[in-house]
Symmetry: C2
Subunit: 273 residues, 2 copies
């Protein structure tokens, strides 16, 4: 699923492209993915495009907002050459169209007023690039839990915006085992991890996000991101670790593919006594 860097890439593109344009029509082919009445926003102009966690927030001139979550396979394409059978929603502007494709149909677009938006967004943990994402905050969260660090990184209520790609990448960068219970992380590891998270997210943004093996993430101009060319560990099982030449392994952790170097990342193992 598109994570912080992918959604941020889309946000920046749209914030240039659709700004001040007027919505003239909305074509909804999948009602469950656009559950509101589109009449509420026809005629409104776009004021800004923001992001919170993995959500896009489009502010409109009529005090409504569009909250968009791409979930597993959503794409937002500006003026694609063609629609296809995964096209679920088309937002028609006075000039140009924004097309929402979604193979798996888990994504959605909601129309919300500002109070509703507050309610939807309040469940998310701090943004990694905000001052709330501090060592002190991480220490507080981590000391309460024996969940594996990788699982906590994916928990949007704890930290906003990180998904499977950047969790794997950050743990590789910080040389921490994905399975290590957060309670067992040392203060030095927490510092390294925070720094690594910020580094890999910045790299992700710099390279316009990652179009990984499934090729589901596209930029709004229908082209691929390029962070996949810079993956440290993600989907690299069987290849050699660039630091120590050990073969990278893949395990399943909480249902998600988890990649690590068994040497650099010092795999912790559990024993049940």
């Amino acid at each position: 699923m598109p994570e912080l860097p992918e959604v941020e890439t889309i946000r920046k593109y749209l914030n240039k492209t659709i700004l001040r344009k007027r919505i003239v029509n909305i074509k909804v082919f999948s009602k469950k993915q656009f559950p509101n009445n589109s009449e509420e926003i026809v005629g409104a102009k776009i004021l800004s495009v923001k992001r919170r966690a993995k959500n896009l927030i489009i502010e409109l001139s009529n005090e409504k907002t569009l909250l968009i979550h791409l979930k597993l396979s959503g794409q937002l394409l500006w003026r694609p050459k063609t629609l296809n059978k995964t096209t679920r929603i088309v937002i028609v502007f006075d000039k140009g169209e924004l097309v929402f494709n979604d193979l798996r149909k888990f994504g959605w677009i909601k129309i919300l007023n500002l109070d509703q938006l507050d309610l939807e967004l309040k469940k998310f943990g701090p943004e990694p690039f905000s001052k709330d994402f501090s060592i002190k905050y991480l220490q507080k969260v981590f000391k309460k839990s024996i969940r594996p660090v990788k699982t906590i990184l994916l928990d949007q209520e704890k930290i906003a915006g990180i998904g499977n790609i950047y969790a794997n990448e950050a743990l590789s960068e910080a040389e921490i085992s994905p399975q290590k219970p957060v309670k067992a992380l040392t203060i030095e590891e927490i510092k390294k991890l925070r720094k690594a998270i910020l580094l890999v997210l910045r790299q992700g943004i710099k390279y316009n996000g990652a179009s990984a093996a499934d090729k589901l993430y596209l930029k709004p101009d229908s082209s691929n991101g390029s962070y996949q060319q810079h993956f440290r560990i993600y989907q690299k099982n069987g290849e050699k670790c660039k630091k120590c030449n050990t073969i990278i392994e893949r395990i399943n952790l909480g249902g998600r593919g988890t990649f690590f170097c068994p040497k650099c990342q010092n795999m912790s193992r559990f024993r049940y006594i």
Copy 2:
């Protein structure tokens, strides 16, 4: 927070009390907890009161629904003698009033159409009393994760409706350590756990929910539930286990108070190698 048995108790009460009554006014003292325009439902009649996970769903005669989550400290009281400083919303009927009190202000009431409701509810895992909550389902979920069993029981995307009280109670009944990683549960333990979950939830419903030490849960008639008189383990640290006389312990697991008998529940310990 009110869990399945508490919400189910409220649901049953309301489904008798407010059925076919007409909403004539809504007083909103906390806008963020009632983010929609109350005009949308004034004049509508109540068709039914349902439950999904810890949510109440009130079906209205105008194809709208009210989705209500009580969160940490929400109460729904029918015709209480007085309002107090925690009163956030009052739904006035042609006969009688439903008062939403909430000390912590995390609860909310949303007005949704049916498509919006579908979108909100689709994230929840199976209801414990449905056929989807099978041994096979639990095996599938558990084999993917090394998270502690207690943490998984609280995860609404995995199983709907269980909170801290009933997770503690079920693990005590099943004699399973709350810290045991779900991957390590045997098929016999999974069977025992499923049975124990259904048993403690049934008992919770039978005794009209639990008004535990914080006294935040009330039935809509402002009286207490009585399941707290039948707690096996919850908040019983320092007391003796009824089965083996060992002193019940309390630990913190994922930030939640966790109670267990160190003998019956055979506390697993982790070692990081």
